[in-house]
């Protein structure tokens, strides 16, 4: 892992007030292979200056080595260290706020008794009024069982909470949506669906996250049948829409089109399966897939219904082999598997202008260094490299569109519309290092939301129709 704000320390140092001392501190940090992110003076006396120095490090051990190196310098005393990421999480990442004042008896009598009784009665007479008279219309439950947390595996529901909170932050910051994180202490598929189905009165949608396969597929199906609001899984719909967007723009750069492209998907977890389905639905010429057992194709028996479906709908020539073999002649590689799966030689064996999306966690299927000069387009899931392809490109806009039309579900058409809108948002500026827009592109969510809403109206998923811009 490279140096990044995600692994940074703030080191409080007291440095004797002699010319050159601070320079020696900065030099020591650089010599130890770290970068100075910022310096603040805490206090200054005649004899010493106390500074908070923020240092980007590789990992905890690297941080400890730097603290030791500074402490060993003459005239320098390390007083304390603090971990910026941990500090930034203290107290959690979100808060509930009131939308109206509650500061007087008049406020009370409007928001609570006796006024609220009329609002409650109005909803009892017409339950649809929950959409406009309560927070329901803009609320999404972010549900996880903690079985597959940010590339770290099964950490359990409590440990999944910081990640679920992050999804809520995306919803608020990017799409103005009120997400609330609800880690569940239950693992049985039917029980998850039953529990969630009983708490959704206040929500307009259910956002599944950090949930392992096959449970995520099963919950989406069983829960979707129990409730009349969408059930989206960010690792499925979100990631696959972002990948399809990147693929459309990358193929465009090479003058190729989807209908004639051969795309290999390596890794058949939730994102791999969802991407295979979406690429088939989008009309990609030839979709190939593989997992640790090799290529998936018809004629083999699979326990998982998802793999059976993929075997029936992809790889018409029943090609066999591992990722390296299947890459021969392919236009694009979509890696959702494990670090280091492929090498430069495999990329060289691809068709002209090879497209490599290496999204494995915690590191890509091929390093940026190995891909450089070989892949025409190279993308990863990392925020510190160009072309970050992440579900957050898609799900905020998909949810905004779904909520705007009070959608009952999120269907393939809506996800495809989202993918095309993401691609179009960066279309004017597409380049090998810019095949998808930034998640902070101000046009992104409005564009995706509009497209998703239109698709929902066309497919019948929208409760509200006719208002799409």
């Amino acid at each position: 892992m490279s140096q990044s704000p995600s692994t940074s320390l703030t080191i409080r140092t007291q440095i004797a007030a002699e010319i050159g001392n601070f320079g020696r501190v900065v030099a020591a940090i650089g010599a130890a292979g770290a970068e100075v992110g910022g310096v603040d003076i805490v206090r200054s006396t005649k004899s010493a200056v106390t500074r908070d120095i923020t240092v980007y490090v590789r990992d905890a051990a690297h941080g400890e080595a730097i603290v030791a190196a500074l402490d060993a310098l003459d005239g320098v005393e390390v007083q304390s260290t603090s971990d910026r990421v941990m500090l930034s999480h203290v107290g959690g990442k979100m808060t509930m706020q009131n939308r109206a004042a509650l500061e007087s008896r008049d406020d009370l009598s409007m928001a609570y008794t006796p006024g609220v009784a009329r609002v409650c009665m109005a909803i009892q007479h017409d339950p649809e009024r929950t959409w406009d008279l309560t927070i329901r219309g803009n609320s999404v439950a972010v549900i996880t069982d903690g079985s597959s947390v940010v590339g770290q595996g099964d950490l359990g529901p409590l440990a999944a909470l910081p990640s679920a909170e992050a999804k809520c932050m995306f919803l608020r910051e990017l799409a103005g949506i009120d997400g609330f994180p609800l880690p569940l202490t239950v693992r049985d598929t039917d029980e998850i669906s039953a529990v969630v189905s009983k708490i959704v009165s206040v929500f307009a949608g259910v956002h599944l996250t950090d949930m392992a396969a096959p449970r995520c597929f099963e919950v989406q199906k069983t829960l979707g049948a129990l409730i009349d609001i969408p059930v989206l899984h960010d690792n499925q719909e979100g990631t696959s829409a972002a990948l399809l967007a990147g693929l459309i723009n990358s193929l465009g750069l090479a003058g190729k089109d989807l209908a004639n492209a051969t795309v290999l998907i390596a890794g058949l977890g939730p994102s791999g399966v969802a991407t295979a389905r979406l690429l088939v639905a989008a009309g990609v010429g030839q979709v190939l897939t593989c997992n640790r057992d090799g290529a998936v194709h018809a004629g083999k028996d699979y326990d998982e219904p998802e793999l059976t479906w993929i075997a029936e709908h992809t790889n018409p020539d029943r090609r066999d082999g591992d990722a390296r073999e299947l890459l021969h002649g392919a236009d694009a590689f979509i890696g959702l598997s494990v670090p280091g799966l492929i090498d430069a030689a495999a990329v060289k064996a691809m068709a002209s202008d090879p497209i490599v999306f290496a999204l494995a966690m915690p590191g890509p299927e091929i390093t940026p260094a190995a891909a450089a000069g070989v892949a025409t387009v190279f993308a990863t899931g990392r925020p510190d490299l160009p072309n970050q392809i992440n579900s957050a490109l898609a799900f905020p806009g998909i949810w905004r569109g779904a909520l705007d039309c009070r959608a009952t579900r999120i269907d393939d058409g809506m996800v495809m519309a989202a993918a095309r809108a993401i691609a179009e948002t960066s279309a004017a500026a597409v380049a090998p290092d810019h095949v998808v827009p930034s998640v902070f592109n101000a046009d992104l969510v409005p564009n995706v939301a509009r497209a998703v809403r239109k698709a929902a109206e066309e497919s019948g998923a929208a409760r509200l129709t006719g208002a799409a811009a």
Copy 2:
């Protein structure tokens, strides 16, 4: 019901620009028995002035009569009317906000991948860290099944949402707590407890509201046994603490004390039962209770375990009769029953300086007019009269105290401490029309929280100890 902001209309009128026209409008509103709450000029031309006139009315029919009266005036045209309470609810009453910025790749890498992975791992290694690294430490689930909503009966979970949102508003405004409303579409006691027990990872407490007896008692018991965070029911702990506070101050005014007082509780729903328990625990001299079947006392058979307990612990003389009969010689009446239960004659038959708390919904057990000059202290649940006794006096502070010490439960000692702290908060200014503080008294929540935390430390309910001020 009297005129109140809780039933107010804003009427947009276009009034011909002639001297005296606006005066006739105001006179017509007064003649129709309503009050003008405010006037705003929307636009003004040579020929006419458009004004938004906010009018406090008794009910919807009264509002319609006033609109018709204005429309009938020469030179006056009613252009539109809007309902302030309904408008104040549009979009719901709360929103989720991020506590930190999410505006750059650096922000992303701290709040989400790769930084968040370290936070998740830290919690996996030490689950107690959810208290400080996530929103859990300050979050309360506001749970309802909608079976008894703000005096309107069983409206169902969707219609209970505006009331649950109001409880969350109290928590935020008064105690800085993040409450989230979760109406449940389930009615079986064990199922409610099972569902809630599986979603509480993100919460430090469960706040039950608008739930009918006996389910509320059963859920509190079964759910409390399943989870290690407090389960509070505002109609029980909240209302009873507020009532005990008012009782302490009211008896003090008359120079009486709890240990020698006789108190009748009429109505044995959740608040009545909880109040009976609390008054017994607080050492009230003689507690009497009655419901529609008359006095509760030992020697009768009761189906409900709550009534059996009350029969065994109150009314030692096994007095019989209805509320009027039981009031003979009583020092205080606590009404949690039905409008119009008692009259002035019954109050006159009480001991000297009679105390009457008439909290029935939608109207008190005795009208303010009938009680005037007869009861020394008269209190209701209404915000537009002095002495509003409401659970909101107690639960924000109880929760603040419980969360500050990461309490595992809320026990009798904590509720009693809350009651005494509420009473003490207004002690310096106690008067017949001021036996409890305003919910907006800035000292109230800190005082209650400190007392509750201290009681929790003493009883062993506190996870954190030693930090109480």
